[in-house]
C-alpha cells in the first residue's frame, strides 16, 4: 500500500470555520504546499454526506492518506474513523477559531495560524503509514497463574470457565495458601431483603471457609494443570508468546507457553516475633490471628484450649493493629484491611462455644466497611463480644495469666485486663518478588535517609517469583510498601509489565472476598492481553493501536538508552546488544523514540519525521516581522484536552503558537527541539503530566524521562547562544483549562521581552 500513496485533503467549513477563515486559501495550501492531490471542501464534513464523500474516495482508491482539516482530533472521532487509511487532522475549530477573538485586527494572524495547521497536518500524513500489526502475533489461550491460595485458585477457575487453559504453579505441597488453616470465614454477605433493622434481627454468622471445595474444583477441572512444590525459574517472551520454565523440588523442569500471566501470590503473615512488647514468643498463650485459626480448627466447635496448659479459654483479648498503622521500626505503616472482621469472627468462635467466655476486642478504629462489614460488626455485638477503644501497650505474664496493659481511649485512662489468651491481629506482608527499580530508587533518592532506606530495601530484597528474563529486572515493579499495585485509581489493573497482572493481597491489602473479586478482574485483563496480542493490538492506554516500534539497525549505536528508559521494561537486548522490542510488551508511548540519540527508532504512524516535518512545515516569518513562532508540544492525554476545553470555554491563545500533540512527553526527541531552534522558533513550551510520586503520566516514567533529557537542553541553547527562557517544561493537568493557554501566552510575552530568535532562514 505504501507503494503508491494517494494523498487527499478534506476541509470542513462548518462550525464557523468557513465564516472565520479563507477556505480557498486553506485548500490551496493543502494542495500546493501540502501536496494533497486535491482538497475537497464540505459545509459539514462530519455529516453522513460528508463522511460518504471521503469513503467514496477511499473505495475508489483515490485516497490512501487523508488530511482532515476540521475540529479537534478529539471531536467526531466516530464519524472520522477510516481504519484502512492513514489520517491526520488539522484542528481549525478548537485549535484556531475558538481560541482566537473575531475582528479584522486579528484576521491576518488567525488565518496564518490555520494555514500552518493545514501545512502541518499535510506534512504529518505524508510521513505516516497506517499500521497493520507486526505479524509476530500468536493466539495462545493458556494462562500461567502463580500462587497457592484462594486468589490464585479463583483466577484459575475463572479462566477455565472462560474457556482458557491454566497452569497453576504452587510453591507448597498442597493448595490453600494462607487460608489453608481457616476454620470459618467472615460472611460474604449482608442480611438479606426482609430482615428488619431491629437490634434483634438475625444477621449473617461466620461461614464455612470453602477452601476445600475450591481445591476439589481445581483438581476436577480438566483445563487446569496444578504444579505443586513448584517454582517459575524462568519467564521470557511477551503476551501471546510467554514461555515459562516450571521447576519442581524434585528437580525436573517443564517449559510451557502462555498468552498471559497472573501473579496471585497473596501475602506472608507478619512476623509477630517483631512484637516482643506483646510477649509473643515469651508465652505460648500469645498467638497471632493466623495461629488462632489453627486452634479453632483443632477445637472444631469444642472448647478452645490454651496452648500452654490445654485449659479452656475463659477470657480472651484481641489486640488490633498489632505491628500495623505504625511508623515504628519493623512495623507496617499501613492497615491490612482484614483484621477487624477477622477478630470479630474469631471472638465469635469463643462466644458460640461458650457464651460465658469474655472476648474483648481492643481497637482504635474499627474498620468494617460496606453492608456486609457493618452487619458483621452488629453480629459480633449481638454475640456479646466486648469492643473497647483502646491502645494496647504491653502484655505481661503473671503465672498462668496474661495481663494486657492498654490505654482506654474513651475513659481516657491507663488500665489493664487479665485474660488466658491474647490474639494479635497482625497484618499482611505482600508476597512479591524483588523490585526491579530498587537500585534505581537508591540512585534517585533525593535525601540521605531516603537513600539509606532504599539501600536497606535493596539488601532485604526477597527471592524472585517470576524470574523474568527482562532487561529491567526479574519481577513486577513495586508501587509502595512492597505491593505490586497499579498507581491509577481508575485503572487498578494498569500493569508495568504488559500481559502480567497482579491479583489479590500482593496488589494491595485485602480480605478474602475482595481477593476473589480481584482474581476475576485480573484474569479478565490477562485474557484480554492474550486476545489483543493475537491481534497485534496494544494494551491500555493506547488500546488497539497496531503500530509498534522498529529501528534502523545500521544506524543503531547499541547505546541502550531505549532499553533502559522503556517504562514497561518491554525492550530486551540481543547478544550484540541491539534492542529487541517485543511488540506485544510495548505500550506505544514512544519513550524509546524520544530516548534514541541517533533517531533510528520510529512507529509507522508516529515518528521523528511525522512530528519533525510538522515543525518544519510551519511558515517562518523573518526576524523583523514581529511575528514570532512558539512551538508547543502537548501530551495528548492531559495538556491537549485542556487546550481544547479552554477553546470551548472562551479561552484565548497567542496567534503565534503552533501546538502539536504528542503521545507522551517521553516520546519527544531532542532533535525536534534543536531542529525547531535552528529553523527559527522563538520559544518552545513542553507540556507533560505530573511526574512525582503521585505521577499522572499514563506511561509511568515518560514525563520524568523527558524532564531529565530536557534538563540538558540548556547546553544546546548555549551553543546557539540563545536565552535559557526560550524553552520551558511544565507539568500540566487536564484541569489546567486556564493555565495551559496561559503558559503558552507567557512564552509569547517572554519572547516579546527578550526579542526574536536570530535563526530565521
Amino acid at each position: 500500500m505504501a507503494a503508491d500513496k494517494k494523498f487527499a485533503g478534506y476541509l470542513c467549513t462548518g462550525c464557523g470555520i468557513g465564516e472565520r477563515l479563507d477556505a480557498r486559501q486553506l485548500s490551496q495550501i493543502a494542495t500546493r504546499e501540502g501536496k494533497m492531490a486535491a482538497c475537497k471542501e464540505h459545509p459539514m464534513l462530519c455529516s453522513a454526506e460528508g463522511v460518504q464523500l471521503i469513503r467514496d474516495d477511499i473505495a475508489a482508491g483515490n485516497a490512501t492518506h487523508i488530511m482532515i482539516a476540521a475540529c479537534s482530533r478529539r471531536a467526531k472521532v466516530e464519524a472520522f474513523s477510516f481504519p484502512e487509511v492513514a489520517m491526520s487532522r488539522a484542528n481549525l475549530r478548537e485549535g484556531v477559531i475558538w481560541l482566537r477573538p473575531e475582528g479584522d485586527e486579528h484576521q491576518e494572524t488567525t488565518q496564518e495560524m490555520a494555514d500552518d495547521y493545514v501545512r502541518m497536518a499535510c506534512a504529518e500524513v505524508r510521513f505516516m503509514t497506517q499500521p497493520t500489526g507486526s505479524g509476530e502475533q500468536t493466539l495462545n489461550r493458556s494462562l500461567l497463574v502463580v500462587g497457592n491460595g484462594v486468589t490464585a485458585m479463583t483466577s484459575a477457575l475463572e479462566a477455565a470457565k472462560a474457556g482458557y487453559g491454566v497452569h497453576l504453579v504452587c510453591d507448597e505441597g498442597e493448595l490453600g495458601g494462607v487460608y489453608k488453616d481457616l476454620y470459618k470465614r467472615v460472611p460474604f454477605r449482608a442480611a438479606p431483603v426482609g430482615v428488619s433493622n431491629a437490634r434483634t434481627a438475625p444477621l449473617p454468622q461466620p461461614e464455612e471457609p470453602g477452601v476445600a471445595e475450591m481445591i476439589a474444583a481445581i483438581q476436577a477441572n480438566p483445563r487446569i494443570q496444578v504444579h505443586l512444590n513448584a517454582k517459575v525459574t524462568k519467564t521470557s517472551g511477551a503476551p501471546g508468546r510467554f514461555s515459562a520454565d516450571i521447576s519442581v523440588e524434585s528437580g525436573s523442569t517443564v517449559t510451557e507457553n502462555f498468552g498471559a500471566i497472573v501473579q496471585a501470590t497473596d501475602y506472608k503473615p507478619y512476623d509477630a516475633n517483631l512484637l516482643p512488647e506483646f510477649a509473643y514468643g515469651k508465652s505460648p498463650d500469645v498467638v497471632t490471628n493466623f495461629e488462632l485459626e489453627r486452634l479453632a480448627k483443632a477445637a472444631n466447635g469444642g472448647p478452645l484450649k490454651r496452648p500452654s496448659d490445654g485449659k479452656e479459654v475463659k477470657a480472651v483479648a484481641f489486640i488490633q493493629c498489632a505491628g500495623q498503622r505504625s511508623d515504628k521500626e519493623g512495623h507496617l505503616p499501613y492497615c491490612s484491611g482484614f483484621c477487624c472482621t477477622e477478630s470479630i469472627k474469631q471472638a465469635m468462635y469463643f462466644k458460640a462455644q461458650n457464651p460465658g467466655c469474655d472476648a474483648t476486642v481492643l481497637f482504635d478504629d474499627l474498620r468494617t466497611p460496606g453492608a456486609a462489614g457493618e452487619d458483621f460488626y452488629r453480629a459480633g455485638q449481638q454475640a456479646q463480644v466486648t469492643f473497647s477503644k483502646g491502645k494496647a501497650s504491653a502484655v505481661d505474664i503473671n503465672g498462668g495469666k496474661l495481663t494486657v496493659k492498654f490505654k482506654d481511649l474513651i475513659l481516657d485512662e491507663d488500665t489493664a485486663m487479665e485474660c488466658d489468651l491474647v490474639v494479635l491481629a497482625t497484618g499482611q506482608v505482600p508476597n512479591s518478588g524483588p523490585d526491579p527499580y530498587a537500585q534505581l530508587a537508591v540512585d534517585e533518592a533525593p535525601t540521605e535517609e531516603e537513600k539509606a532506606a532504599a539501600r536497606k530495601a535493596l539488601e532485604v530484597a526477597p527471592p524472585s517469583i517470576l524470574n523474568l528474563d527482562y532487561r529491567q529486572g526479574t519481577d513486577l515493579p513495586h508501587l509502595k510498601h512492597g505491593f505490586v499495585d497499579s498507581h491509577f485509581i481508575c485503572f487498578p489493573y494498569e500493569t508495568r509489565r504488559t500481559g502480567i497482572y497482579a491479583a489479590g493481597p500482593v496488589r494491595r491489602p485485602m480480605d478474602m472476598k475482595q481477593a476473589i473479586d480481584d482474581a476475576a478482574g485480573a484474569t479478565l485483563k490477562a485474557i484480554q492481553a492474550a486476545e489483543n496480542a493475537a491481534r497485534g493490538a496494544a494494551a491500555h492506554p493506547r488500546v488497539g493501536d497496531l503500530s509498534y516500534p522498529t529501528f534502523r539497525k545500521e544506524g543503531c549505536t547499541q547505546c541502550k538508552r531505549c532499553t533502559v528508559e522503556c517504562p514497561f521494561g518491554a525492550i530486551n537486548e540481543d547478544e550484540q546488544r541491539y534492542p529487541q522490542f517485543n511488540e506485544s510488551r510495548c505500550r506505544r508511548c514512544g519513550t524509546c523514540m524520544g530516548a534514541c540519540p541517533v533517531r533510528v527508532i520510529s512507529f509507522e504512524n508516529y515518528s521523528i519525521d511525522s512530528v519533525g516535518q510538522q515543525i518544519k512545515a510551519v511558515d517562518m516569518p523573518d526576524e523583523f516581522s514581529e511575528k514570532p513562532r512558539i512551538l508547543a508540544l502537548a501530551c495528548e492525554n492531559d495538556a491537549y484536552p485542556a487546550l481544547d476545553m479552554a477553546a470551548q470555554s472562551g479561552g484565548q491563545i497567542s496567534p503565534f503558537a503552533r501546538v502539536i500533540p504528542v503521545r507522551c512527553l517521553g516520546s519527544v526527541s531532542l532533535s525536534w527541539i534543536t531542529d525547531a531552534l535552528n529553523s527559527g522558533y522563538d520559544g518552545i513550551v513542553l507540556m507533560g503530566c505530573r511526574r512525582d510520586d503521585d505521577y499522572q503520566c499514563h506511561f509511568v516514567r515518560g514525563s520524568k524521562m523527558a524532564a531529565e533529557r530536557l534538563s540538558k537542553v540548556g547546553d544546546t541553547l548555549q551553543q546557539l547562544n540563545l536565552e535559557q527562557e526560550r524553552i520551558q517544561v511544565y507539568e500540566v493537568a487536564i484541569t489546567d483549562v486556564q493555565r495551559a493557554p496561559q503558559l503558552i501566552n507567557d512564552m509569547a510575552a517572554t519572547v516579546e521581552k527578550i526579542g526574536m530568535s536570530p535563526f530565521k532562514f
Partner: protein, 427 residues
C-alpha cells in the same frame, strides 16, 4: 427509530458511570459486542461530578478522557444515552431486553458548536452541579460530556424557545418531533452497574439540612471546590457567599445508623479527608477544619493518606457523632455534641458544615425489572439465582472508585463466560 444490532452473544451493560463504562470497555476490548445503556445524557456518572480523587488528589476527568477515547474508538461498543432498561425476559445466555429511550431532541448531526444554547434564554437547575447552579434549556451537560452532543430540556418543548433553538442550528441537529421510544434486543448476559445516589440529607433531621443553608453535603462540596463548578472553585457558603474557612465535616451522615442506612458507605471518611485538603489548600493558615467521626475508616493503604492529613495542623479530629446542629443569628451552623475521648462537651460554630453523606443504591428494590438477589440495603449479592445478570460497582456494595472499577472488571469476565457459553467457545 433507533436500531440496535445485537445477538445472544451481546453483553448488555446497564449504567454508564465509571463501573458500567469499565465493564463495557473491558468486555469490548476483549472482543465482545457490548450495548451500554445510560440514563443520563452522557457517560461518566457521579465520577464526572468529582473534583479530585483520594488518595492521589488527581483529577477524575483525566481517567475519564482515556475512557472516553476508548469508547469513541471501539467498534464493539454501542452506547445508548437517556435510556433505561424497563424489561428483561429470558434466561442466562438468552435474554431479551426492553429499553426506553427518552427524546434528546438533538440528533447525531450535533457538532456541539453551541449556537442553540446562545439562542435560548430560560434557565433551569443544573443537575450536574446538584442544583447549586443554573444551566440553559439547550445545554451540554458539562464541558467534557460524551457524547459531545447537546440536549434540549423537555420543558422547552412547545415553547417559542424550542423553535429559536432549532432555527439557530445550521446542521439540522435539532429534532423537535423526537418521541420517547422503546426498543427490544437480545443479549446473553447483563452487567448491572446502576451505581449509587447520595442519601436524602433532609431525613437526618438533627442536622437540619432542610433548615440551614450552610449545612451541605459532601457531593455538593465537591462542586464548590471544582473550578468548573458554580462558584468557580471558591469555597464560599450558600447563605451569603461568605468565605468558608472554618469548616466541619460530619462522618456517618446517614450511614451506620438504624434510623437511616444500616451499612457503612466506606467512601465518606476518605472523601472528607480529601476535602480537608481542599480547605487547607484554599486558606492555608486561616483554614480551621474539624472532622467529627465514629471510626476513621482509612482502610488498607489509604492509611498513608490519613497520616498525611493528620499532619495538617489546621485539621483536627474529634471522635464524636454530633448530636445536633442549630443555626445562630448570623446563620453560622453550631455543632453540638460530646467528644467521647475524655467527654468534653462542645458547641462549635462554623462557617460551613459538610455532611459526609451516605451512599444508597440508585435503583430501589421495587423497580428492578428482573428477579435478583438483594441484601436488605438494596445492594445486589452475587448469586447463581441471578443467572446471567452480574452486578458491577456500587450496585453491589458501597465502594470507592478503585474498588468499583476492580469489581466491574471482574463482572466483565463473568459476563464473557456466559456469552462464551452461548457461543460455544467454552468446551
Amino acid at each position: 427509530m433507533t436500531e440496535v444490532v445485537a445477538t445472544n452473544e451481546t453483553i448488555l451493560v446497564v449504567g454508564g458511570g465509571i463501573s458500567g463504562m469499565t465493564a463495557a470497555l473491558e468486555a469490548a476490548e476483549t472482543g465482545k459486542q457490548v450495548v451500554l445503556v445510560e440514563k443520563r445524557p452522557y457517560l461518566g456518572g457521579r465520577v464526572s461530578q468529582l473534583y479530585k480523587y483520594f488518595p492521589k488528589l488527581c483529577f477524575p476527568t483525566c481517567g475519564l478522557e482515556i475512557n472516553q477515547r476508548r469508547a469513541k474508538m471501539n467498534p464493539n461498543l454501542r452506547v445508548l444515552t437517556m435510556a433505561e432498561v424497563t424489561g428483561l425476559k429470558g434466561e442466562k445466555g438468552n435474554y431479551t431486553a426492553t429499553v426506553k429511550i427518552s427524546p434528546r431532541y438533538v440528533n447525531g448531526n450535533c457538532t456541539a458548536c453551541g449556537e442553540c444554547e446562545k439562542a435560548v434564554s430560560s434557565e433551569f437547575d443544573d443537575e450536574y452541579n446538584y442544583g447549586l447552579g443554573k444551566r440553559k434549556g439547550a445545554y451540554l451537560p458539562y464541558r467534557m460530556a460524551h457524547p459531545a452532543q447537546y440536549v434540549l430540556d423537555p420543558r422547552l418543548i412547545g415553547t417559542p424557545e424550542a423553535d429559536q433553538a432549532k432555527a439557530a442550528c445550521k446542521y439540522n441537529a435539532i429534532d423537535l418531533d423526537m418521541r420517547e421510544e422503546s426498543v427490544d434486543f437480545p443479549c446473553g448476559a447483563v452487567i448491572w452497574a446502576t451505581g449509587w445516589q447520595p442519601y436524602d440529607a433532609a431525613k437526618i433531621q438533627p442536622y437540619g439540612y432542610d433548615r440551614f443553608p450552610n449545612v451541605i453535603t459532601s457531593v455538593e462540596f465537591e462542586r464548590l471546590a471544582d473550578p468548573q463548578g458554580p462558584t468557580g472553585g471558591k469555597l464560599v457558603r450558600p447563605s451569603d457567599g461568605k468565605e468558608a474557612k472554618k469548616v466541619a465535616f460530619i462522618q456517618c451522615a446517614g450511614s451506620r445508623d438504624r434510623n437511616h442506612l444500616l451499612h457503612c458507605s466506606r467512601i465518606c471518611c476518605m472523601a472528607s479527608l480529601k476535602q480537608c485538603t481542599y480547605v487547607a489548600d484554599a486558606w492555608g493558615k486561616d483554614a480551621d477544619v474539624s472532622v467529627y467521626y465514629i471510626d476513621l475508616r482509612a482502610i488498607d493503604r489509604f492509611e498513608d493518606f490519613y497520616a498525611k492529613v493528620r499532619g495538617i495542623e489546621q485539621v483536627k479530629f474529634i471522635k464524636s457523632k454530633p448530636a445536633s446542629i442549630v443555626a445562630d443569628k448570623e446563620g453560622n451552623p453550631v455543632v453540638h455534641g460530646v467528644d467521647t475521648e475524655g467527654y468534653n462537651r462542645y458547641a462549635d460554630s462554623f462557617d460551613l458544615v459538610v455532611l459526609a453523606i451516605g451512599m444508597e443504591p440508585s435503583v430501589d428494590q421495587a423497580s428492578f425489572p428482573v428477579d435478583i438477589v438483594l441484601n436488605r440495603e438494596g445492594f445486589i449479592e452475587a448469586d447463581e439465582a441471578n443467572g446471567g445478570v452480574f452486578a458491577a460497582g456500587c450496585a453491589s456494595d458501597a465502594l470507592d472508585v478503585n474498588r468499583a472499577v476492580q469489581h466491574a472488571t471482574g463482572a466483565a469476565l463473568r459476563a464473557i463466560q456466559v456469552v462464551h457459553g452461548a457461543a460455544g467457545v467454552e468446551g
